[in-house]
């Protein structure tokens, strides 16, 4: 069709650099620009990126006609080449990146657009847009990076931008601290990630380029064939993902991150940045699939996070907190998916979740803005009348997230649950991959047992034994899939319940706040309204690209991702009989309907006494949920304030003194104490300094003589 020869590869750097340009312009000169100019620069750069992304996507579709494994690569320059190590400054747009690209720039643009009405009275608007553009830039680096080093730059970049944006209203100490909490918790995760990168560098031939890594780990002759090492690397990568994607135990920063402006929550803490961990695991599917043990850990952490966060979400009263815990829970679903080997389903859920969760957050933003920064749902109600547009879009998104057909959330969530039970790792193939490692181990064992002349028969027997043991250990993992499925189903029930509780309390019934606010409440202004409408529409149709197997055995989304996920799919296999699949689908719908029904019973029919009665009856449970299982307090106590509430039980004392003082706070105190001590030596007397010099000479002499 195109008359001139043109490769979309060249677009990749432009896509990335446009938001950076916007960020720099707004950051440096924003104060001299008018408000409208700031809006225009911030939004149009991202819009342009989005349009270019669509071109790349379509280009990729076209290229796939001739080459099913087509991908666009752009190598800017060799960044570091040192000995065996090399990092290129290069971009890669394959099928996975292309999906992420559209999500990031698309949702990014809509959020930019709606921000113009949410932040209309904030003086720091230029700074805000600069940060937001820099965020989009970093996120694009993350999804387009051709190697782990590039991904890591983006990873750190989005972390930094998120920190800046959470603490955007830094005059408020709480908010600044929320930012710092996010920063610190993410650092913990990053340590794991960095160590994993270094291990990969060391073991996988000095390159962390995705293409070469995939080639490396697809060929057992070249890569590490030692199963525990691969498991370790996977787990370390997952620690990084835990930090970014808010999984247990590192999820604590995300609810606090709601201190930032609501559009930021929509973009960063719902649609894009927090999904980076899931993206990374899916990207590294060829590695994770090699370690069923690590995958099981991933899946179970995801399942526990899903149900844990969902249960907290049941009773929260802050509109943004509910959504925050819902996000954590949904991220749990995605992690279940990638842990179960259903990589495509995980990305699919990421894709649909981005739409409905961004829509929910923007809707919440519209409510908060309309009610003069009121966030407590107990003081809302009946907003249907005042905000018809917000109401409609919010309802659509709620249905979508609850998992009712035919909206987006249904397909993706159902796919995750179905595949969790359907798939299982192909133990034979894995054993074939690890064969070399088994051989070495067998040699070592046989050698240790029977002298140096290795009896070949004995070695072969030992190898068979090791292999059998391995295959059995992989097959024993199957039980966990059922556990994860059950937990996921419960979480889905809770999700349906708390989302509709939120909806009913906010939009239906009688208004419960003060009348002054009610009189001034207004519907979303047009920029936000249009963003909401687009996102709601996508929440409806977004899932249709991934209709499951049962509907004619052709799933566009899965097929699209196939080139990237082929290796993962090869190692984790399985399919459900259509009857079972329909059954599971029915179960999903049933569970979601029950959740919605309970919510309607309790909250949808005007103010009811029942919730209060339930709360009184199960007061300890209710309190635990309301206070988020006291996890924040727990961390606070164990990590921050020592000995504040010593009591109750002896083990707690031990815990505090031993863990807290000796391991957590201790080093910090010790460092500061040593620092003060060291400063005492700096007396200001020259001759004392000279004594230091003489001591140094003595030390040198000791060394040399």
């Amino acid at each position: 069709m195109t008359a001139f020869s043109f490769s979309p590869s060249a677009l990749l750097p432009i896509i990335v650099l446009l938001p950076l340009l916007g960020g720099i312009l707004n950051g440096l000169f924003g104060k001299r620009f008018s408000r409208q100019t700031v809006y225009a620069i911030g939004s149009t750069t991202v819009l342009a990126s989005f349009l270019l992304s669509v071109m790349v996507f379509q280009g990729l579709r076209g290229a796939m006609v001739t080459d099913p494994n087509a991908a666009f690569r752009f190598e800017a320059y060799h960044w570091i080449v040192a000995g065996n190590y090399s990092f290129d400054f290069a971009f890669l747009a394959d099928q996975l990146s292309a999906v992420m690209l559209r999500v990031v720039t698309g949702v990014g643009f809509l959020v930019h657009l709606s921000t113009t009405s949410y932040m209309d009275d904030d003086p720091g608007i230029a700074r805000y847009f600069a940060y937001l553009n820099l965020f989009v830039f970093s996120m694009l680096m993350l999804v387009l990076g051709k190697n782990l080093a590039m991904l890591f730059i983006g990873w750190e970049g989005v972390g930094a931008c998120s920190y800046l944006l959470i603490g955007f209203w830094f005059k408020d100490m709480d908010k600044a601290e929320a930012g710092q909490k996010a920063f610190v918790v993410n650092r913990i995760g990053d340590i794991g990630f960095v160590v994993a990168i270094f291990l990969l560098l060391a073991y996988a031939g000095g390159s962390v380029d995705f293409d070469s890594l995939r080639a490396h780990f697809s060929d057992s002759a070249r890569a590490i064939d030692h199963a525990p090492t691969i498991t370790l690397i996977c787990l370390l990568l997952f620690v990084g993902a835990c930090g970014k994607s808010a999984q247990i135990p590192l999820y604590v920063w995300l609810p606090d991150a709601m201190a930032g402006p609501t559009p930021v929550s929509a973009l960063i803490h719902a649609a894009t940045m927090v999904t980076a961990g899931v993206y990374m695991i899916a990207r590294m599917n060829f590695l994770f699939a090699l370690s069923p043990h690590a995958m099981t850990v991933v899946m179970m952490v995801g399942a526990l996070t899903a149900i844990f966060a969902a249960s907290i979400g049941l009773v929260q009263n802050d509109i943004k907190k509910v959504l925050a815990y819902s996000t954590v829970s949904q991220l749990g679903f995605m992690v279940i998916a990638v842990g179960a080997g259903a990589f495509a389903a995980g990305i699919f859920h990421l894709f649909t979740h981005a739409f409905f969760k961004a829509c929910l957050f923007l809707g919440a933003g519209a409510v908060i803005h309309g009610l003069h920064h009121e966030q407590d749902i107990r003081k809302m109600g009946g907003l249907k009348k005042k905000m018809p547009l917000v109401n409609a879009t919010f309802l659509i998104s709620c249905i979508a997230i609850a998992g009712l057909p035919p909206l987006a959330g249904f397909f993706s969530k159902d796919a995750i649950l179905a595949e969790t039970v359907a798939l299982k790792p192909d133990a034979e193939k894995l054993a074939a991959y690890y064969e070399g490692g088994f051989k070495r181990q067998a040699f070592a064992e046989a050698g240790a047992a029977g002298g140096e002349a290795a009896d070949m028969a004995k070695v072969a027997a030992a190898e068979q034994g090791i292999k059998k043991h391995y295959i059995e250990s992989v097959e024993h993992l199957g039980i966990w899939r059922k556990v994860a499925f059950a937990l996921g189903l419960c979480a889905a029930l809770m999700t349906a319940f708390y989302m509709f509780r939120l909806y009913f309390l906010t939009f239906t019934g009688e208004y419960r706040g003060d009348h002054h606010t009610w009189d001034h409440a207004h519907d979303a202004p047009w920029p936000m309204g249009s963003a909401l409408a687009i996102l709601a529409a996508l929440s409806v149709v977004g899932g249709w690209v991934g209709m499951p197997f049962a509907h004619g055995h052709y799933n566009f989304f899965y097929h699209w991702l196939e080139p990237v996920l082929a290796r993962g799919k090869e190692l984790v296999e399985g399919e459900l009989a259509p009857s079972v699949e329909y059954g599971l689908m029915g179960l999903s719908v049933l569970v979601a309907s029950i959740g919605v029904f309970i919510a309607w019973q309790l909250y949808g029919r005007g103010v009811s006494e029942v919730p209060a009665r339930i709360a009184t009856t199960f007061r300890p449970v209710y309190n635990a949920l309301l206070n988020k299982y006291y996890v924040d307090e727990f961390y606070h106590a164990v990590v921050i304030t020592p000995l504040r509430a010593v009591s109750r039980a002896l083990f707690q004392v031990v815990d505090r003194v031993l863990v807290d003082l000796a391991m957590v706070r201790g080093p910090g105190y010790a460092l500061v104490g040593l620092s003060h001590l060291g400063r005492l030596a700096q007396t200001g007397e020259v001759q004392a300094y000279l004594i230091g010099t003489v001591v140094g000479v003595a030390a040198l002499a000791w060394y040399l003589i």
Binding site: G684, E685, Q687
Partner: protein, 102 residues
Amino acid sequence: MTAIPLGHILTLAALLFSLGLVGVLTRRNVLIMLMSVEVMLNAVNLTLVGFSRYNAWTEGHVLAFFIIAVAAAEAAVGLALVLSVFRLKQTTYIDDLRLLKR
């Protein structure tokens, strides 16, 4: 002319060097400390000249001249600093310079 053994020259120089170092370490008057540094430098000169004379080398003498010149410059800078300290604080004692610490 009886030659003085090299060892004697080096020992004397070492003694002078140590003396100078002790002087800098113990005296509180900046002027005396400066003098002590000069003693240390002269010990170095002695060593150099001793080596040169013993081996009939020439470069050591040249180096010694350079050191003398540098020592003179150092004295000039040192005295200028002492002067400016004295202008501000009316003291030449190093103990009184304890504004900067910790």
